[in-house]
């Protein structure tokens, strides 16, 4: 038995080391785990400088921000903006930070604006832990961030503690799988095989139809609970989260790219609200105005319980566009 276990152990260690080395050598496509982002990015990568405003985020951005509407609002206000929706399905905070960092590192984009969906840090669900989508963006930096984030979390109950443990556990597994190059064959340059056809327009937007009659109470709750949470001051913000946000803002500033965080309607958490409040005012859209937008919380404007339909996207984009103009005016007057 001892001989058997020794052999298994040595075999595994060598496998681990070889994998580490191969991970550095092989030409892996940066965004291979996020098919939609890769499709969007590759469709505009030769024209990156034609755009001066990009949206990032999850499906709420994909289905909620229509760049054509945004650009037309800008045009009416004599602003020359050409925007593109780089949102992609199931893309949460850590992945978004990875995507934005990669774009800042690997492209020549400058003098632009990145509008980013404001999100909470999520743990990796166990049933999806070995998906390429949850592996490809892992790194030691990300894992360090998660550790700091959990250590700085407002842990008051045993449940909070277990949630913290789950964050560390799930990201350590995902990072290990990343080191083991799980599934990276599909990320090799020579193996770029897109399974799905593109489901977005030439500006990265995709509208969904209303799939069923929405429950107005559920949608209204997003608004009322949001108002309650934003009015209360009972939660502390997370220092590691703030630091991460500030790093990305600073990094973007070096390229004259301004970062603006936008809220999308959903169930907010106390921590998320506390973190949003700590954002510099020039880097976010005013949440009070956002929560005042009754049209955003009308069931008729929703495709399902988490996404706008075409009409809802129209309202939401117009609201974001107007707030963007206000932010720009404020900034301009401050500069004067």
């Amino acid at each position: 038995m001892k001989k058997f276990l020794n052999k298994i152990l040595i075999f595994s260690i060598i496998l681990f080391v070889f994998n580490l080395v191969l991970g550095f050598i092989l030409p892996i496509r940066t965004y291979y785990g996020n098919e939609m982002f890769e499709q969007k990015f590759s469709s505009i990568k030769n024209d990156l400088n034609d755009y001066n405003l990009y949206f990032f985020g999850s499906s709420r951005i994909v289905n909620g921000i229509n760049p054509k509407v945004f650009d037309s609002v800008m045009q009416v206000n004599d602003r020359d903006i050409n925007s593109y929706n780089l949102g992609s399905y199931g893309t949460w905070f850590n992945e978004n930070i990875f995507l934005i960092n990669s774009i800042l590192n690997d492209t020549s984009i400058k003098d632009a604006t990145f509008m980013i969906e404001f999100q909470q840090v999520m743990s990796v669900p166990w049933e999806k832990i070995d998906n390429h989508k949850n592996i490809y963006y892992q790194s030691s930096d990300n894992f360090t961030f998660i550790l700091n984030y959990v250590l700085d979390k407002d842990i008051r109950t045993f449940r909070d503690f277990l949630i913290g443990v789950h964050y560390i556990f799930s990201y350590s597994i995902s990072e290990t799988l990343n080191i083991f190059n799980l599934g990276k064959l599909k990320g090799l340059e020579s193996y770029s095989h897109s399974k799905e056809s593109k489901k977005f327009d030439n500006k990265g937007f995709f509208a969904i139809d209303s799939r069923k009659e929405m429950n107005q109470i559920t949608i209204s709750n997003y608004q009322s609970k949001g108002v309650q949470l934003f009015q209360a001051n009972e939660s502390k913000s997370n220092g590691a989260f703030e630091k991460k946000i500030n790093e990305i803002i600073k990094k973007a500033q070096e390229r004259n790219i301004s970062i603006i965080f936008i809220l999308t309607p959903k169930n907010y958490t106390k921590e998320m609200v506390a973190n949003y409040k700590t954002l510099p005012s020039e880097n976010k859209i005013d949440y009070e105005k956002f929560l005042d937008q009754t049209s955003l919380f009308e069931a008729a404007n929703w495709g399902d319980h988490t996404h706008f339909n075409f009409q809802g996207a129209q309202y939401f984009t117009e609201f974001v566009a107007k707030e963007f103009l206000i932010l720009n005016r404020n900034e301009a007057s401050e500069n004067k």
């Binding site: 038995m1 075999f11 994998n19 599934g183 897109s194």
Partner: protein, 482 residues
């Protein structure tokens, strides 16, 4: 829990350590651990269906004990029928209820009557076809006095639910597996290493071969109306390797896992695509099911004895029931019937047992005749697999119609097929290795054993890297649905 999942990668070492280091002093505790681990393994998918296994185990245990206590033929028959009705009742309800209902409704509506019965939203419990057949073999063998009934409930529960082969076989006979739970088991280095090699090869077949073939096979089958004949043929070939890699890969992992726990399971696949006729193919494909049907259905029906009509009837029954066992869809029944049509000429001309040995046993290469026979048999199975994979009979017929059209001789093409350039050489290497090792239980059993340790390790590492590089987004095993 899937063998190719992270859950299993954590589960297996834990059970292994508990089994050999914590519970190794007592056979009873070891068996109890196997039973509990098996329930965890199964319950991971849906714990509610554990009640079915437990109920089936209890019924068959008490039927077995009762059969051991009575000699009265009528009472014995009643007991046997209780076991058959309970096991096949579960199987029939969960797997076939909606199929029969829909077909009855269609039949009645043709006759002008409308049946007012609604289909039920039934979830098919994973592996139900496998464990019901395994436990049925126990009661039938006890009834036929081929096996002593067990009074050891823990051993029996562990036998019914033994996690390596619980959800997709091999379907073990009680006479082979159950006695292994009575004897103390000792870890043997050679068995452990053999087991690990078989697990490695099974994972390779599943993750590298089957899952990669699935990408192309699925795309081609789902868009078959837009594909040329040659592309459809390629899709059918990809599916042929997908189902082989998937199912025989599962069996390899199951047998290898059982080995590291000191159990020996039966061989389930013996390089079936190197068969020279369909009879040989069925002696090499899903051996545990074929022999189950042979022993518990074909022979009781009279087998190949009797007149021509009996032979034809029995052949069709066994192949069609075997097809129906795979799923409640006419496609599986036609798949079975087609295999019966392939098989019958051999049976009627007494040529069904002419290829009993391994092909080209004493040489590297097959003769021209053998090569032709293998190619023809492979071609026939590819055609039959189209029915197995198709959504319905209409889809299968239109698929085959498209395949055997003028464009069969064109170059296969669809957007994205260019990336199969990685897969085709890999398939060629896979076939080559399987061909070299066709005399063994599995391809890695003796491969490179006479070479230096460095060459062997290089081969194992290459396989492991390929598994890691192609893994992720775990794919369900096809046979889980049966």
């Amino acid at each position: 829990m899937l063998f190719n999942s992270l859950d299993f990668a954590i589960f297996l070492p834990i059970v292994f350590i508990l089994y050999w280091f914590v519970f190794n002093k007592s056979l009873k505790w070891q068996n109890l651990l196997v039973a509990v681990a098996s329930y965890v393994f199964y319950g991971w998918w849906d714990w509610r269906f554990l009640s079915l296994i437990l109920f089936s185990t209890l019924v068959d245990y008490f039927v077995g004990v009762s059969l051991g206590k009575t000699e009265a033929p009528t009472r014995r028959k009643v007991l046997l029928w209780i076991s058959i009705l309970v096991n096949l009742g579960f199987l029939g309800f969960f797997k076939y209820y909606n199929f029969f209902l829909d077909n009855f409704k269609s039949a009645f509506s043709i006759a002008g009557y409308e049946l007012n019965a609604n289909s039920l939203n039934i979830i098919l419990p994973v592996g139900i076809s496998f464990y019901t057949f395994q436990t049925l073999s126990y009661t039938i063998d006890v009834y036929k006095d081929r096996l002593e009934p067990t009074k050891n409930f823990i051993s029996f529960a562990a036998f019914v639910s033994f996690f390596p082969q619980l959800v997709a076989g091999p379907i073990e006979r009680a006479s082979n597996l159950l006695p292994q739970f009575y004897k103390p088991r000792k870890f043997e280095y050679s068995q452990g290493v053999d087991g690990m090699r078989q697990i490695l090869w099974g994972l390779f077949k599943k993750v590298v071969i089957a899952d990669n073939c699935a990408v192309y096979a699925n795309h081609i089958f789902e868009n078959s109306a837009d594909m040329s004949g040659s592309t459809l043929a390629l899709g059918a070939v990809f599916f042929t390797f997908q189902i082989y890699g998937d199912f025989s890969g599962y069996s390899d992992i199951a047998i290898g896992t059982a080995r590291i726990f000191g159990f020996k399971l039966m061989q389930n696949f013996a390089f079936p695509y190197f068969s020279r006729d369909i009879a040989e193919f069925w002696r090499r494909w899903h051996i545990s099911l074929s022999t189950w049907f042979r022993d518990y259905l074909y022979i009781p029906l009279g087998g190949s004895r009797g007149g021509t009509w009996m032979k034809v009837r029995n052949t069709f029954i066994i192949f069609m029931v075997s097809g129906f066992w795979h799923g409640a869809n006419w496609t599986f029944i036609v798949w079975g019937a087609l295999n019966a049509v392939y098989f019958l000429p051999l049976l009627l001309t007494n040529k069904n047992r002419q290829n009993m040995e391994v092909v080209a046993e004493d040489s590297y290469f097959p003769s021209l005749k053998e090569f032709g026979q293998m190619t023809l048999t492979f071609g026939l199975t590819v055609i039959a697999w189209v029915f197995f994979r198709a959504e319905n009979i209409g889809h299968a017929i239109s698929y085959l119609g498209g395949m055997f059209s003028e464009s069969l001789l064109s170059i296969p093409y669809y957007e994205g097929i260019g990336y199969a350039k990685f897969l085709i050489p890999l398939l060629a290497i896979f076939i080559f290795i399987e061909w070299l090792e066709r005399r063994n239980q599995f391809a890695l059993e003796k491969l490179l054993l006479n070479q230096s340790i460095f060459i062997r390790l290089a081969a194992y590492y290459t396989i492991a890297f390929l598994i890691f590089y192609t893994a992720g987004e775990e794919q369900q095993f096809i046979y889980f649905q049966f």
